[in-house]
């Protein structure tokens, strides 16, 4: 354990971001703006697949170095 424990705990909040982004349909249940004919509802959720990989990836890298 070193002095940066608090900062590393904070990074765990990153895990909440994709949860809020895809579990609250009030935010994204609409057609516009659409991309290439795909309604917002669909491309927003598909986009967050990349989002979750990045968020979890960052948390992985940070908590790995923490050891």
């Amino acid at each position: 354990m070193n002095n940066h424990t608090g900062g590393r705990k904070l990074i765990l909040l990153l895990l909440l971001v994709p949860l809020v982004a895809v579990l609250v349909p009030e935010f994204y249940n609409r057609s516009n703006p659409s991309i290439g004919g795909m309604p917002f509802f669909y491309w927003w959720q598909l986009l967050w697949i990349a989002g979750v990989a990045i968020c979890v990836g960052i948390v992985y890298l940070v908590t790995r170095r923490a050891r």
């Binding site: 895990l15 909440l16 994709p18 949860l19 895809v22 579990l23 609250v24 349909p25 009030e26 249940n29 609409r30 057609s31 290439g36 004919g37 795909m38 309604p39 509802f41 669909y42 959720q45 598909l46 967050w48 697949i49 990349a50 989002g51 979750v52 990989a53 990045i54 968020c55 979890v56 990836g57 948390v59 992985y60 908590t63 790995r64 050891r67």
Partner: protein
Amino acid sequence: MIPKFNGLEFGIVVAMFAVVAVLGFLATRWRRAGPLASVEEWGLGGRRFGTAVSWFLLGGDLYTAYTFVAVPALLFGTGAAGFFAVPYTIAVFPLVMFVAARMWSVCHEHGYATAAEFVRGRHGSAILALLVAITGIVATMPYIALQLTGIRAVIETIGIGGDWPLWVAFAVLAVYTFTSGLRAPAMVAFVKDILIYVMVLVAVIYIPYKLGGYDVIFHGAQSALAAKGYSTLLSGSQYLGYTTLALGSALALFLYPHAVTGVLASRSRDVVKKNMSLLPAYSLMLGFIALLGYMALAAHVKPVGGTAAKPDTTTIVPVLFNTEFPHWFAGLAFGAIVIGALVPAAIMAIAAANTFARDIYKPYIRPGASAREEGLVSQIVSVVLKLGAVGVIVGLKLTFALEFQLIGGVIVIQILPSVVLGLYTRWYHRWALVVGWIVGMGLSVYMLYITPSTTTAHFGSASFAFSSWGIHTKMTIWTGIVGVVANLVVATALTPLLARLPRGRDETSPGDYGEAEAPPIPFGPGPVVGQT
């Protein structure tokens, strides 16, 4: 209605199946360090899979035939609500990242092979462990059966009416799983995933090109859905059902025995955590496959099989491939779907069999069983489970295969307090957890029982309509969330009340939950499988 038999497609599927069967048998020899006949080697692949093999194994394990068949069928039938599979497979990774890592560490330290074994060690309660074991096995059964509906959809599309191909496929699967254990699906998963990725890439580019773009697809789907009273967007009354179904499914996923097996087969805690950020690649594939349901609507695909009044909508993806692609490509895609069903079915049967051997056979039937005997019991039970699943599925005809899996999720989430909270705290009293399980499970089964579908009076859906309780609304909620909240409330309220009853002995210690790496391999310096 069964379409005309297609010999070319049938031949390609049979050839691909044969290649996979040979691979499955060869896997017996794949970098093995010790004797095969034990739960450790046969059922967990020696706990030596590195990042790459674990990625394929967990991907093949968690993204199952329901991905290719049931999710598109749900979008085809009910529109936007079926897309819940995408938020579900997004939410699961941030939720389970640290839980799975702690699970790996404590199980590795104590040699646990199942969640029930951990519960017995942590809470010191044989009853609670037995409940967890039975819950896991019961919840896995419909999941194995769901894989079969994927194979049957392909068989019907090729133009074979009988059930004999299902028996043949599962008999071969049972034999090579018996001999090779977890290594067989791990090896086959490579082939499966490469095939599936190619198939999906081609499909999501070529089909929209042929149909005139995603614009046309979504408009076509919207008008087809509107005629049935559905839409490509959610209605306000669907929000709660959508969110709870996605969240609950995500919480339930890693409680299944086959998911635990996939995690525990990893070489290190680091491999488990790393894969939580690599596995979403499969979710992207799932998302695009889901949209095949809309492509089928826009292309006016008519499902085959089933009855005239109740066609088998799980066939829409195979039929779509049949109408939009040349037969040789459709044949390859069908082979991929069949193999994609065999991989998870094998892992599920192995995981449930491990649970039976470790948590029912050894404690209750033969307390003195050796590791070899335990392994043999596990091998035999895996065969029985597979053939049992075929028997169940041949007797049932289903409109929405996915409801099968959703009911399994409602059941399995009831072990969340014992397993997941157990990984973090010893505060809960073992008897409070037992009573919580009874209340949560009882309530869930009752709610499932009073939920009708269009064709059955009971167990029709895992989405519970509040109107069943006389509440005047169109809102629904995923049944499992209600059950597990009741479970948690009871367990939390009873724990202080039961303080005078003796607590179980906890054989784990706080340091066990953070252990990072595997110690040297007990059978000597064998090479590490798939190390990266």
